[in-house]
Amino acid sequence: MSDQAAAIDERAPFSFVGDMGPLFGLVVVNALLTIVTLGIYRFWARTRVRRFLWRNMRLLGEPFEYSGVGSELFVGFLIVVFIVLLPLGIVNALAQFLIQGDVGAILFNMAYYLVILFLIGVGLYRARRYRLTRTTWRGIRANQTGAGKQYAIRYVGYTILQGITLGWFTPAKNVRLWDFRLANTWFGNARFKYARGGEGLYRTFAICWFLLIPTLGISFLWYKARELRTLTAKTSYEKTQFELDVTAGRLAWLVIPNALITIFTVGLGAPFAQWRTARFLAIYLRARGTPDFSAIEQDLRARPQFGEGLADGFNLGGV
């Protein structure tokens, strides 16, 4: 029965041992219950899928553990509905009646979308914080520091710059946001580090940008693979250096079928896409060096009580 002790490869420390079969049963039952409960069950459904994915992902032979529960997501969502979405919907509906004239309408819409964009930024960051605080490995928890609004301000600003520059700000945006996220990511009492830089991305980006139209957007995958390689290579945790061995072809084989799976199952099959992503990461994510595990102590920071309401409210998906 002992499987892994001999099989652990220090260079490829991740392995994913989840089979498609049990996941299939899980997805079918989840879909039925979600439909029967008019969508309310989706929070518990998502939690069950995460537990499956987490416990089947192993690092150095030990499984991850997802300790979130569905009611946390449910309550988080309800809070957001009453505090954010309903007031926002009412303001928008009233504005459609109250605001006369094109100029007023345009100004309102711009302000409205800025607010939405800001809330999306907050939502993404908070959802990540929730997931990390519910992630345990070897009994030690992960966490995320940094305020959601700090991230959201950057997110909004960079997204606007991205639009103004016809996309040329994309590498800078992605590097900076990655840096912000990583520098605030903790496992136990130690945080991840991102070595500054990433300027080299611009050469690849320039080529891909000009090829965007002739290749019908496919050149973006080439850039994205390069970006993921660079960002991962500059990421470290306690003397451990990461490496993602991804190429444009591998990325295409990941994201295109994933998109098709999700679209053709109207979202119900998204767990299969997540399963493929987990397997992808286990295969291509490598690490060099091993941290001194006895020096990594339990995370004692505060953890959010409820999760992901905002991200769910805006249908931001994620795992």
Binding site: M1, S2, D3, Q4, V17, G18, D19, L38, G39, R51, R55, N56, E62, P63, E65, S67, G68, V69, S71, E72, F74, V75, L78, V81, F82, L85, L86, G89, I90, A93, F97, W137, R138, G139, I140, F187, G188, P291, F293, S294, A295, I296, E297, Q298
Partner: protein
């Protein structure tokens, strides 16, 4: 019965290889440092079910953050016989049950509030919205209904409509100036939109045998305008749509909205009938036309089966109860006069001719 396992103390990430023994009361093992640890069976909890290689992880209520990782799933079968609460999930987030109940109550009470309060609120809001906005909304609603259809603008017919509307409008004095139009559509239908907009379908004029019958339907629609039913219904639908979509998401949200939209239509119809009868009496037209028309539509429904039910009936079900109410209230005016002269009625019949 011993097994090798990996122990994590929950304080640091270091792994400790240990040999776990089963005793009378629980599991016991010794750390390399010499510390002896024992986990009573009653405290044992399974973190997750075993993976395909049989690896599973245990914790103990006495050391909630510590983990014991075992890759021998024959052990699990053994533990199931000894540790009664092994598969209890009480080690996960606790005391959430209260929160779920509290929020479920919140949602239910909010939904009830919407069902009970939105109609009342929509009346208040309906009166607060400036008339010019209501008229704008009404134009939009009418435009939606009329999309792809032609407005009938025959001169004689338009005149006849004005002749029919004027006394009814004077008798009822609605808040909005009435704008009554005829749509070139086969449907036997008529409706009132916000802001005093009324649309009569040509099919309804075709189906009527006298001007009094059309006047009966018109009086009913004018009564809706007098009571501001269209405005309130629009606000009600919009309000519930925002609420249900936010809480339930798209499809279920639309179903909830429909529920609200129709929950109050019945009493509105009864109220509109009553007011229509008053209008018809005050204008000297009388209610025979209205009663005759509803009765004949009901016959059409019985004879022709479901696929040809006139659409006016789907929103205005002529229940026996309703017909009886119209019959009972058939108080004739002292001097009966037809709604239109014979010539005007002929013009109205031809309003869509080009």
């Amino acid at each position: 019965m011993d097994t090798s396992a990996t122990y994590f103390d929950g304080q640091a990430a270091a792994a400790h290889t240990v040999t776990v023994e089963t005793t009378q009361s629980g599991l016991a093992f010794v750390l390399p440092s010499g510390t002896e640890i024992s986990w009573p069976y009653n405290d044992l909890r399974l973190i997750d079910k075993p993976d395909i290689y049989g690896r599973f992880v245990l914790t103990s209520l006495s050391q909630r953050e510590a983990r014991l990782s075992i890759s021998d799933d024959t052990w699990l079968a053994f533990l199931d016989t000894r540790a009664p609460d092994l598969r209890s999930n009480d080690v996960r987030a606790r005391a959430r049950g209260l929160w779920v109940i509290a929020t479920a109550t919140l949602v239910v009470s909010a939904a009830v509030a919407v069902v009970l309060l939105v109609p009342g609120l929509s009346i208040v809001i309906g009166r607060a919205i400036p008339p010019s906005w209501v008229e704008q909304i009404g134009e939009d609603v009418v435009a939606q209904f009329a999309a792809g259809e032609r407005w009938c603008t025959g001169t004689g017919g338009t005149n006849a409509v004005a002749q029919m509307v004027r006394p009814l409008e004077e008798a009822g004095s609605p808040d909005f100036h009435l704008i009554v139009r005829v749509l070139d559509s086969d449907a036997i239908n008529a409706f009132a939109a916000p802001g005093g907009r009324i649309v009569i379908f040509r099919g309804l004029i075709d189906a009527a045998e006298s001007a009094d019958e059309v006047a009966g339907v018109l009086a009913h629609e004018i009564a809706h305008v007098i009571h501001r039913h269209p405005t309130e219904a629009t606000i009600r639908v919009l309000g519930s749509w925002i609420f249900f979509r936010a809480v339930l998401g798209d499809s279920a949200g639309s179903a909830g909205t429909l529920l609200i939209a129709f929950a109050h239509s019945r009493e509105n119809e009864v109220q509109a009938d009553r007011t229509a009868l008053t209008l018809l009496r005050e204008t000297g037209i009388g209610s025979q036309g209205m009663a005759a028309f509803f009765e004949r539509l009901t016959d059409v429904e019985v004879e022709s089966g479901a696929d040809r039910i006139p659409s006016f009936l789907t929103t205005h079900p002529p229940t026996g109860e309703r017909l009886r109410a119209i019959e009972a209230a058939r108080v004739q005016p002292t001097t009966v006069r037809p709604a239109l002269t014979a010539a005007e009625w002929k013009d109205l019949k031809a309003i869509c001719d080009v």
